[in-house]
C-alpha cells in the first residue's frame, strides 16, 4: 500500500514537472533566439571629397534602411588605415573598403566580402598608377632616383603598396636613400594634383580616380605620363563582420544585388553613381595580398 502511495506520489511529481516545463519552455524560448541587430554601422573610407562622398552613401544607407527594416548608419574615416581601429573602437558592422584595407580586414578581422560596386564607366576594379610629369624628363625607373615622390596613404594598395612593390622589384628598396623627398597626400586626387602642380616629381594613385580626372580634363593625360600599372584589383568592396545574423547578411546581399532591377533601386544607384553591385569573394583579393607581401618585405627591410 505504501509502495503504491509512493509510486503515486512520484507519478504526481512527474506530471507537475511536465506541466511546469510546458509552461516555462515557451516563455524561455525567445530568450535563446538570436535577435537581428536594430542598427548596422557601416564605415566609409575617404575619397576625393568626403562631403560629397558621404552624401552619395547616405542615399544608399537610406534605401537599405527601408529595404532591410534595420537602420543603416554611416561613419566616415579620415584615413585609409583607420578601418581596423574603427572596427575595434566603434564596433563597426561593416565597411566599404578599398582593396588593401579590405584584404587586411578579411585577414585580421575575419570580415566577409559581400559585393563590389560597378562604377559609371562599367569598372569594378582599379589599378595602381605610378606617374610623372612629361616635362620632368623621367622616362623610366632609373630617372626617378633622387626625385621627390608623393604617395596617397600607407593603407592604400594603389597609392602606396603597389609603388613600393614595383620599386622593390626594380631594385629600389630604401626610399629615404633613393628619393630626395617622399610624403603622403591623403587622397588620390591630391596626389595627382601635387604632381601636376610640380610639388612632387613622381606620384602614385588609383587608376579610376586618375581616369576620371583625365576624362574631365584631357590636359592631364598630356601633362602626365604613366610609368607603371599594377594588376587589376577590386576597387571598393562591402565587407561585413562574420558574426552578423545570416538572414540579415543574405537579405543585405540580395537587396544590393537586386537594386539595378527595381525602379527605386535604380534611382538610388544613379545618385550613388554606380551601375550595379556584383558578388565578391575572398579570391578577389589574392593579388592584393601578394603585392602587400612584397611591400611589407620592403618596409621590413628599410622601414616606412
Amino acid at each position: 500500500m505504501r509502495c503504491s502511495l509512493a509510486a503515486a506520489h512520484t507519478g504526481l511529481k512527474g506530471i507537475v514537472f511536465c506541466l511546469l516545463m510546458c509552461l516555462v519552455c515557451p516563455l524561455a524560448a525567445p530568450a535563446f533566439a538570436v535577435e537581428p541587430p536594430k542598427q548596422l554601422l557601416i564605415g566609409i573610407e575617404p575619397e576625393h571629397n568626403i562631403f560629397d562622398q558621404m552624401e552619395r552613401y547616405r542615399y544608399l544607407a537610406s534605401y537599405l534602411t527601408d529595404q532591410l527594416g534595420v537602420e543603416v548608419k554611416l561613419t566616415i574615416m579620415s584615413r585609409y588605415g583607420e578601418v581596423i581601429k574603427r572596427f575595434k573602437s566603434l564596433n563597426l558592422d561593416g565597411a566599404f573598403l578599398t582593396s588593401y584595407t579590405a584584404t587586411m580586414a578579411i585577414k585580421e578581422l575575419l570580415l566577409d566580402p559581400l559585393v563590389h560596386p560597378v562604377n559609371l564607366s562599367g569598372e569594378m576594379t582599379s589599378q595602381g598608377y605610378v606617374f610623372v610629369r612629361r616635362d620632368s624628363g623621367i622616362g623610366d625607373i632609373k630617372g626617378m632616383r633622387g626625385k621627390s615622390i608623393v604617395f596617397v596613404d600607407p593603407a592604400t594598395m594603389e597609392g602606396y603598396l603597389f609603388p613600393l612593390a614595383y620599386f622593390r622589384q626594380h631594385g629600389i628598396t630604401d626610399m629615404r636613400r633613393e628619393f630626395n623627398r617622399f610624403y603622403f597626400s591623403g587622397s588620390h586626387v591630391s596626389a595627382i594634383f601635387t604632381v601636376l602642380d610640380g610639388r612632387a616629381d613622381i606620384g602614385a594613385a588609383k587608376s579610376t580616380v586618375f581616369n576620371k580626372l583625365a576624362n574631365d580634363d584631357p590636359s592631364i593625360r598630356q601633362e602626365l605620363r604613366i610609368i607603371a600599372q599594377s594588376p587589376k584589383v577590386p576597387e571598393v568592396t562591402l565587407c561585413i563582420r562574420s558574426e552578423i545574423d545570416s538572414d540579415l547578411r543574405a537579405k543585405l546581399t540580395a537587396v544590393l544585388l537586386q537594386m539595378d532591377k527595381t525602379p527605386q533601386g535604380k534611382k538610388v544607384l544613379e545618385k550613388f553613381q554606380t551601375i550595379r553591385f556584383v558578388k565578391s569573394t575572398t579570391a578577389d583579393f589574392v593579388k592584393v595580398e601578394e603585392m602587400a607581401r612584397e611591400a611589407r618585405a620592403a618596409i621590413e627591410e628599410h622601414g616606412k
Binding site: P46, H48, N49, I50, F51, D52, M54, E55, L74, T75, I76, M77, S78, R79, V150, D153, P154, Y183, F184, S185, G186, S187, S190
Partner: protein, 499 residues
C-alpha cells in the same frame, strides 16, 4: 420713388463696392508688404545661420587633430548643413545683383568643402597640412565676411522696406477711415431724404383718410405730392369722388326702394278698384241702355283706366325691376330680333299713317366679330326696343325729312361692347338732355315719363353697363350709347343665349 430708391441702392452699393475693393487692395498690399518683410527677416535668419554654420566649421577646422576636435562625422554633418543653408539662399532671391552674390557665396562654399576635404584627408608633412588648413580657413573667413556683408545689405533693405510698409499702412488707415466716414455720411443723407420723402406724404394721406372717415366726402388732397405718393393722392381723390357718387347712388337706390315699396303698395291698392271700375264701365258701355254719346264717355273712361293701369305697371317696373337672368350672348343677335319686333311695332297705326306718312328706315352697322357679353336677353331686348321706338317717336314728331334710325355695334379698345342707336328726329334741347332719364320726365303728350328711366335702370342692373345720350353733331336727332363689358370668361362658365 421706385427710381429714387433704386438709384440710392445703386449709389450705396457702388460705395460699398468701392469700400470693399479699396479694403481688399489695402489688405493685399499690406499682406504683400508683410510677406516681403517676413522674407527679409527669413533672409536675415538664413544669413545668421550661415555665419554660425561657417563659424562652427571653422572651429572644427582649427580644433581638428587636437583634444577639442570633433568627430569627422560631426564635421561632415556641419559642412553639409552649411552647404544646404547656402543653397537655400537661391530659393528666395531674384534680383540679379543679389543672385550674383549668392552664386558667388555658393561657389565659395563648394571651394570651402573641397579645401576642408583636402585638409582632413591629407597625411602630408605638417607644413603642407598647415598650409591646407590655412587655405581652408581663409575661404571660411571669406564666406563669413561675405555673409555678414550680405546680411548688412539685407538689414538695410529690411529697414527701408519696413519704413515704406509702415508709411503705406498709415496711408491705408487714413483711406479706410475716410471711406468709413464718407459711407456713414452718405447713409445718413440718404436716410434723411427718404424719411422726409415718405413721412410727409404719408401724414397727408393719413389726414385725408381721417377726414373721409369723418364723413367729409368732398375733401380732396390738394397738395401736390411727388412720385408714387402723387399717384396715390390722385387715386385717393378719385376714390373719394367715386365714394361720393356711390353714396349718392345708394341714397337714390334707397329712395327708389322706398318709392318702389310705396308705388307697389299704391298700385296694388289702385289696381283692384280700377279693375272693378273698368269691368263696370265695360258692362255699362256694352249692355246699358245709354245713348251712344254717353257710351263714348264710358269708353273714354275705360281708355283712361287702361292708361292708368299701364302707368302703374311702368311705375312698378321702374321701382322693382325684375332680377336679370344673365347669359352669355351676342348683342348683334339680340339686336336682330329686336329690330324685327320694332319693325312690326312700327307698322301699327301709331307709327304708320297716323302721325306721319313716312316710313322709318333702320340702318344696321353691326360689327361682325363682336365678342360676347353677359346680360339678360329679355331685358336687353326691352332696352333696345324702347330706344328704337323712342327714336321712331322722335322721327314721327319731325315730319320734315325721311326718318332714319342707325344702329351700330362695335368692340372698343377698352374692352367694351358699344351699341349706339341714333335717329335724325327732332333732338332734345340742352336743358332737357340732362333729365331724359329722370322718372316722369317726358316731352310727349301721351308719355308716362318712365320709359327711359326704366331703360337706364335695366342697363345699370347689368354689371358695368352704362347708357348715355347726346345730340348728334349735325344737330339732327340724338344718339343713345350703351356699353357693356366683354364677358371676361368668353362665355365658358355662363349659360349661352339661344334665340
Amino acid at each position: 420713388m421706385k427710381k429714387k430708391i433704386l438709384i440710392s441702392f445703386v449709389l450705396l452699393f457702388l460705395l460699398f463696392l468701392g469700400g470693399v475693393v479699396t479694403t481688399l487692395h489695402i489688405i493685399n498690399k499690406t499682406t504683400a508688404n508683410l510677406t516681403a518683410l517676413l522674407l527679409l527677416h527669413k533672409v536675415e535668419v538664413i544669413r545668421q545661420d550661415l555665419v554660425i554654420n561657417v563659424q562652427t566649421v571653422q572651429s572644427n577646422l582649427y580644433t581638428t587633430g587636437t583634444s577639442f576636435g570633433k568627430e569627422l562625422d560631426i564635421i561632415v554633418d556641419n559642412v553639409l548643413r552649411l552647404r544646404d543653408r547656402a543653397q537655400t539662399c537661391t530659393d528666395c532671391h531674384h534680383e540679379a545683383p543679389v543672385e550674383k552674390e549668392i552664386i558667388h557665396l555658393q561657389e565659395l562654399t563648394e571651394q570651402y568643402k573641397e579645401a576642408l576635404s583636402y585638409f582632413i584627408t591629407s597625411t602630408a608633412d605638417a607644413q603642407r597640412v598647415a598650409r591646407l588648413q590655412y587655405f581652408a580657413a581663409d575661404i571660411g573667413d571669406r564666406i563669413i565676411v561675405k555673409s555678414q556683408w550680405m546680411a548688412m545689405n539685407a538689414n538695410e533693405a529690411l529697414r527701408k522696406k519696413t519704413t515704406a510698409a509702415m508709411a503705406e499702412v498709415a496711408a491705408s488707415k487714413k483711406i479706410l477711415i475716410g471711406m468709413l466716414i464718407l459711407s456713414f455720411l452718405v447713409g445718413i443723407v440718404i436716410s434723411l431724404y427718404f424719411i422726409r420723402s415718405i413721412t410727409k406724404p404719408v401724414a397727408e394721406l393719413l389726414s385725408a383718410t381721417r377726414k373721409i372717415k369723418a364723413g367729409k366726402l368732398e375733401y380732396r388732397i390738394e397738395e401736390k405730392l411727388k412720385d408714387e405718393f402723387g399717384e396715390l393722392a390722385s387715386s385717393f381723390n378719385e376714390m373719394a369722388v367715386s365714394l361720393k357718387e356711390q353714396c349718392v347712388k345708394l341714397q337714390e337706390t334707397e329712395r327708389l326702394a322706398v318709392v318702389g315699396e310705396l308705388c307697389a303698395g299704391m298700385a296694388h291698392e289702385i289696381k283692384n278698384p280700377m279693375a272693378g271700375i273698368k269691368v263696370s264701365m265695360e258692362v255699362l258701355s256694352r249692355d246699358s241702355p245709354l245713348e251712344d254719346e254717353d257710351k263714348d264717355v264710358l269708353r273714354l273712361v275705360i281708355k283712361e283706366i287702361d292708361r292708368i293701369t299701364a302707368l302703374l305697371k311702368g311705375l312698378l317696373n321702374y321701382a322693382r325691376p325684375p332680377k336679370p337672368e344673365m347669359v352669355s350672348l351676342d348683342v348683334n343677335q339680340v339686336l336682330e330680333v329686336t329690330i324685327k319686333s320694332a319693325r312690326f311695332a312700327m307698322k301699327t297705326p301709331r307709327y304708320k299713317g297716323k302721325e306721319t306718312d313716312q316710313e322709318v328706315e333702320i340702318v344696321k352697322d353691326l360689327s361682325p366679330d363682336l365678342p360676347l357679353i353677359v346680360a339678360d336677353p329679355g331685358q336687353l331686348q326691352q332696352v333696345f326696343l324702347n330706344l328704337i321706338l323712342n327714336a321712331a317717336d322722335s322721327i314721327a314728331a319731325n315730319s320734315e325729312r325721311q326718318g332714319v334710325i342707325t344702329i351700330q355695334t362695335k368692340h372698343t379698345a377698352a374692352g367694351f361692347v358699344l351699341i349706339s342707336i341714333a335717329d335724325n328726329g327732332k333732338g332734345i334741347d340742352r336743358e332737357s338732355l340732362g333729365k331724359v332719364f329722370n322718372p316722369f320726365f317726358t316731352t310727349k303728350s301721351q308719355g308716362t315719363g318712365l320709359g327711359l328711366a326704366i331703360t337706364k335702370r335695366l342697363v345699370e342692373q347689368h354689371n358695368g353697363g352704362t347708357i348715355t345720350v347726346a345730340n348728334n353733331a349735325d344737330g339732327k336727332g340724338v344718339t343713345f350709347t350703351i356699353t357693356f363689358p366683354v364677358n371676361p370668361e368668353n362665355g365658358s362658365s355662363i349659360k349661352p343665349y339661344a334665340s
